[in-house]
């Protein structure tokens, strides 16, 4: 993430001034001017695991897919089975490409089965994804609603209590991966019980006209719960501790979902989809490499792109993400390794600028949280 010295060409969320008033350090991310931290990476990370944090995720993209051809279109362009979603349910899924790789990972929200769905995609891929959906449309009405939605993620053990206070006490009864519309001030917001941190909480879709108001109320009324704003830096360390994939790191147009450990969102028995044969071919040939989590047993930080080596110095893979875990205080990493070295307990080495730092493949998530995610 580059420091944005000239942020004139960057997109700004409606919360931009609020972040600056809160003393955020702003950076460029996916063409947006975003807060990377406020108080500090570690403090924001730990506060999310202990209390509750607010994340501005307005930069994410939202598409509406509507009409009698909506389900058929979504089944063709995603890997998971959209037909099993009832109104108010959501699922994590992938946009596949024709080579069996991944165009993006996203969440599909069912508003009305067979008629009306909302898709939430990565900020970095919004334009690419919209073109992909249009190009592969099977007669549905496709609308890019990204500009009308703000989005705030409220995450942590006290998140549901805060949301119940500010939006509705009925949120506490919502199951994981469900969504509901609620009145807020003089508008409607959609609360989804989803998240990218491993903690309980929700992601709130709020019209841009009311995003600042919702943020302010959450911040003010959650003071006794320890609510704090958290930036993209903490968002990244939180998801790394959970071994959640980040597009451009663990997954991209060249990676296969089965190798990434995402076979559970691929439902070939239920439907046909773009690139299905190519995707299954990698699975059926026997996986050559797998995505694993590992911890370093020496000092250093594993970074994206670093090579992974066997004890006898052979290249066996590469790091996709890594950091010093704020919760565990040890270096952790995620990466692809040859299957022979993917077993739990495998001894591998991270090539850190020419030094082989000893590491060990471990079970993930690295941290145990309240959610099963």
């Amino acid at each position: 993430m580059a420091e944005a010295s000239s942020h004139l060409n960057l997109k700004k969320t409606v919360l931009c001034e609020v972040h600056q008033q809160l003393g955020a350090r702003m950076v460029e991310f996916a063409g947006w001017y975003m807060p990377v931290q406020y108080e500090g990476l570690k403090e924001e990370h730990l506060n999310t695991r202990t209390n509750v944090s607010l994340f501005d995720v307005t930069h994410m993209g939202e598409f509406r897919v509507r009409g009698p051809k909506s389900l058929e279109t979504l089944q063709w362009i995603t890997t998971n089975d959209v037909s099993k979603l009832q109104a108010g349910q959501a699922q994590y899924t992938l946009f596949p490409n024709e080579q069996g790789g991944i165009v993006d990972d996203l969440i599909v929200y069912c508003i009305e089965p067979g008629q009306d769905y909302l898709l939430c995609v990565n900020a970095a891929n919004t334009e690419k994804d919209f073109a992909y959906v249009l190009a592969n449309n099977r007669g549905a009405e496709i609308i890019n609603e990204s500009e009308q939605w703000g989005q705030i993620a409220v995450q942590g053990p006290k998140a549901i209590e805060l949301l119940s206070r500010v939006i509705s006490s009925e949120i506490a009864a919502m199951g994981a991966f469900t969504h509901r519309s609620f009145a807020f001030a003089d508008t409607q917001v959609v609360v989804a019980r989803t998240g990218y941190t491993g903690e309980d909480g929700g992601e709130i879709f709020v019209p841009v006209s009311h995003t600042v108001k919702l943020w302010s109320e959450l911040l003010e009324r959650g003071q006794d719960l320890g609510v704090k704003p958290a930036g993209l830096g903490a968002r990244d360390t939180l998801r790394t501790e959970m071994k959640y994939c980040l597009y451009g790191h663990e997954i991209d147009e060249t990676t296969n979902p089965y190798e990434a450990g995402l076979g559970w969102v691929v439902k070939p028995a239920k439907k046909d989809f773009i690139g299905k044969a190519a995707m299954l071919a990698v699975r059926d040939a026997g996986l050559k490499r797998k995505l694993v989590g590992f911890v370093l047993e020496e000092r250093g930080i594993p970074r994206q792109g670093y090579n992974l080596l066997s004890f006898d110095n052979k290249e066996i893979g590469r790091v996709t993400s890594g950091t010093q875990s704020p919760s565990l205080n040890i270096p952790i990493g995620i990466g692809y390794v040859d299957v022979a070295h993917s077993e739990l307990g495998s001894e591998i080495y991270v090539d850190i600028r020419g030094r082989g730092a000893k590491a060990r493949v471990v079970a993930t998530p690295f941290v145990k949280t309240a959610t099963a995610n």
């Binding site: 990476l41 000092r299 250093g300 930080i301 600028r353 030094r355």
Partner: protein
């Protein structure tokens, strides 16, 4: 923000400081540098006896955000290394101007000091970065 910036130290544009005592130069990174880096988790330092050159990398400091090269303020021979930092780099964040010293160099020639910044220039440099 007021940083500890002794008048008699020399500074580099890469945020190292140099304390000169006759021909022995003690080198470290400034408070501004450790603040920019964040929590430092690892430091790579040269061996005693290693030759260093002004402006060239003599080691690496690694924080969560990035790994950054350390640049030598003068040419000479490394005569002492603060090796306790390799096991525990926390002094680099806590006390970079003192306990967090990195190496001591026997300087080849004091003429090279003319290429370094004095405190006024360094203050100007960091004020432009904020």
């Amino acid at each position: 923000m007021s940083y500890q910036l002794p008048e008699d130290f020399y500074y580099t544009k890469d945020h190292e400081w140099a304390q000169v005592d006759e021909n022995i130069v003690t080198v470290g990174i400034t408070e501004f540098a450790q603040e920019q880096l964040g929590e430092i988790v690892y430091v790579e330092l040269p061996e005693e006896g290693a030759k260093v050159n002004q402006g060239e990398s003599f080691g690496v400091v690694e924080s969560v955000k990035a790994a950054s090269d350390l640049y030598s303020p003068v040419s000479g021979t490394v005569i002492e290394v603060n090796s306790s930092l390799v096991e525990d780099p926390s002094a680099l964040n806590d006390d970079p101007m003192n306990d967090g010293w990195l190496i001591r160099i026997e300087m080849d020639t004091e003429k090279e000091l003319a290429n370094l910044l004095r405190v006024a220039d360094y203050k100007k440099l960091i004020s432009e970065k904020k």
